[in-house]
Structures are given as C-alpha cells and as structure tokens.
Symmetry: C2
Subunit: 233 residues, 2 copies
C-alpha cells in the first residue's frame, strides 16, 4: 500500500510548542492552582501530547515555576515603560495606581498565580534566581517619585516606597482577587463597569489625599452613602 507520505502528519515547531505549552499552563495553574492543575489538560489545551511537557520544560513543578517567572517578568517589564520620572509626583502616583489596577484587571491569572505561590509559602520563588534581581529598579523608581514629591512640597510626607507600593497593590489586588467572595457577601457585582470605575477613583483619591493632604474632587465626589440599602445595583 502507498504510504501517503505527502500528507504531513505534523510539523516541527519547538519554539511555538513551548509557548503554547507555557500559555496553556498559565491558564491551567491560574484556574486550578498548583495541586488542582492537570497535566493532561495543559497538554490538550496546548494542542500537544503530555510527553511534550516533559520534553520541553520538565515536570509539573518546573513548568509551574517557569510560568510564574514569566508572569513576574511581564508585569515588571510593562511597569518599566511607565516613565514616571517625567511626571510631577502626584500624577506619577496616580498613573502607577491606574496602571496597576488595569494590569490586574487585564491579567487575572497573575493574581491567581501569586496566591498559589503564597499558598506554597513562596517555596518555588525562593529557588528562582531570575526573579529576585528584577525588583530593585522598580523600588528605586518609586523612591525617586516620593523623594521628588517631598522636595517639591507636593507630598507632605515621606513614605517608605515598599510600604507605599504594597498599599497600592493591595488596594487593587484584594478587590480583584477576592471579588468573587466579596460580591457574594456584600450582595453586589463588584466587577461590573461602574463598580470598577468607582473603585479606581476611590483608590487614587485615597492614596493621593493621604500623600498630598489635599482632597481630590474624585474622592469627595465618590458615590458615598449610596442609600440606606447597601445593595447599590
């Protein structure tokens, strides 16, 4: 019988395959956590065979660490393009908040991955050499903004940049990462457009009011005391 060699059964594409595997793995780990993730599902979603994961990346935990490192690289890379140095300090902080918020919104897997890693007490991250090095520049960027703000008189207080960043990230992270449970217990959809806009305004107003001492219009104008009924929908 003719062996029908003309029909290619598959093409080689190691680089592409690797990317598809990592992308599929990211979604899977984000959706189910490390323990809940299934290697077979990752393979299927990547249009690959399970064996390929082991060939291209390694075992489940190696795969997970690679995904995690990639996630950190991506956000820190985007942050580097923020160019806060050329804005006046309050604007710079506002922009950082805005970016952080929208990045978290656009990349919900990032939040889930961080939670997963913290459940594991960062044991994978500790093994990672890549990740540790990429944060000093980021902290320095914020420190510069704060220093400039204090010198210009825009900020009445000098805050520890790490403390400030954790606060900014926390205001956004908790809201989004826990939106499912918060929506249930407070009986309103925290992810709908108006709620998201309101949250962003609230966060910016809160942080800038504390830093500058001046109440922004947004903060004052926030939809306070919406009604006696807390279900605003």
């Amino acid at each position: 019988m003719a062996k029908a060699k003309r029909i290619l059964k598959w093409q080689r594409d190691p680089a592409g395959m690797r990317l598809r595997i990592l992308e599929a793995a990211k979604q899977e780990f984000a959706a189910y956590g490390l323990a809940g993730a299934r290697v077979d599902r990752i393979a299927a979603a990547a249009g690959a065979n399970k064996r390929m994961l082991y060939y291209h990346v390694g075992n489940k935990e190696d795969l997970y660490l690679e995904v995690l490192e990639g996630a950190y690289e991506k956000i820190r890379a985007e942050e580097r393009t923020l160019d806060l140095e050329h804005l006046d300090p309050p604007e710079a902080i506002g922009r950082l908040i805005d970016f952080t918020w929208n990045y978290f919104l656009r990349n919900p897997e990032f939040l889930a991955l961080l939670n997963t890693e913290n459940l594991a007490k960062a044991k994978h991250l500790k093994r990672s050499t890549k990740v540790k090095s990429m944060h000093s520049p980021f902290v320095e960027m914020i420190r510069t903004v704060v220093t400039r703000g204090v010198e210009s008189g825009d900020f009445r207080v000098a805050v520890d940049p790490v403390q400030l960043y954790i606060s900014i990230a926390g205001l956004a992270f908790f809201y989004l990462s826990n939106s499912a449970t918060l929506s249930v217990i407070f009986g309103r959809d925290l992810l709908k457009k108006e709620a998201r806009d309101e949250r962003l305004e609230h966060m910016i107003a809160l942080v800038l009011a504390a830093l500058t001492g001046k109440s922004t219009a947004a903060f004052v104008g926030a939809p306070a005391l919406p009604s006696l009924e807390h279900r605003v929908v």
Copy 2:
C-alpha cells in the same frame, strides 16, 4: 485467651470528634487548598478514621464549606464586639484597622481559606445561606461611623462603607497573605516584629490622613526613605 474487655479501645465523643475534624480540616485546607488537601491527613490529624469525616460531616466539599462558614462566623462575631459606636469616628476607624490587622495575623488560615474560595470563584459560598445574611449589620456599623464622622466634621469626605472596608481589609490582607512572595521579592522579612508594627502604623496613618485630611504623627514619622538600600534588615 482472656478478652481483656476492661481496656477501652476508644470512647464515644461525637461532638468532640466533630470539632476535632473541623479544626483539622481548617488547618489542612488552609495549608494546601481545596485540591491539595488530603482527606487522610485530616482524619489522621483529627485522631480519627477517614470514615468518620463522611459519617459526621459529609464529603470533602461539604467539609470544606462547613469550615469556610465557620471562619466567616468567627470573624464577624468578633467584629461585633468592637463597639465602634461609642468611639469618636477617627478612633473607631483606627480601631477597626487595628482589629482587622491583628485578626488576620492571629488567624492566617482565614486568609488562606478566602483565597482558596476565590480560586473556586466562590462557588461554595454561593450555595451557603448562612453567610450572606451576616454582613449587612457589619456594613451598617461602618456606615454609621462614617456618617457620624462627616457630621462631626472629623471626616471631610463621605465614603461608601463597602469601599472603605475593602480598602482597610485589602491593606492588611495583601500584605499578610502575600508576605511570602513579597518578602522574597523585596528582600526583607515582612513578618518580623518591627515590620509588622510599621505596617500597622502605615495603614492607620494612610486611611486616617485620607479621611480627616490631617496628617498623623505616625504617618509623618514613618521610617521613610530608610536608606538608599531598600533592604532594611
């Protein structure tokens, strides 16, 4: 051979058993998440047999939901004893922050459970009738404080109580829940005593400064710009 009936192999204690199972389950789910938790480990830790879980509570997910409900009940119950109504508004908010922070510190499993439930998109919580009802009073408690603060002139702004609570919780939650990864990334131990104290001060100062417009001593005096080196340790 003598049957040695005198020696009791075990005693009945259904109520106690149930409690031990729930406590063991809480630790297990908090430590490993829902998917990572092992029914056998829970049984062992409870000093019980695996079969007992199914006898006293139900399957793994029922067990998990019961643990989760218990966790919410516990924090809301403690919050109810805060008695914020009798404090003047800034003090009341400070106290709420202080309580939230310390509760999270004392009950790290609570944070882990919430993360686990959010990974599951709150699908268990949605089935729970108990939990939804117990949050309105809590929101009203905060709303009252805010209203009083605005009326007394202590607060220059009226904030949505839900928004405010999410911010307070977020400031504490993110720091503690993510302390493992953050400690690695920023190269300093965020859980050591001084760091914890500093964080609490920072949070109170941040929120109160935003609400009252007045900079508190604590906020100004925060260990800002610790040095050019961000590793403070």
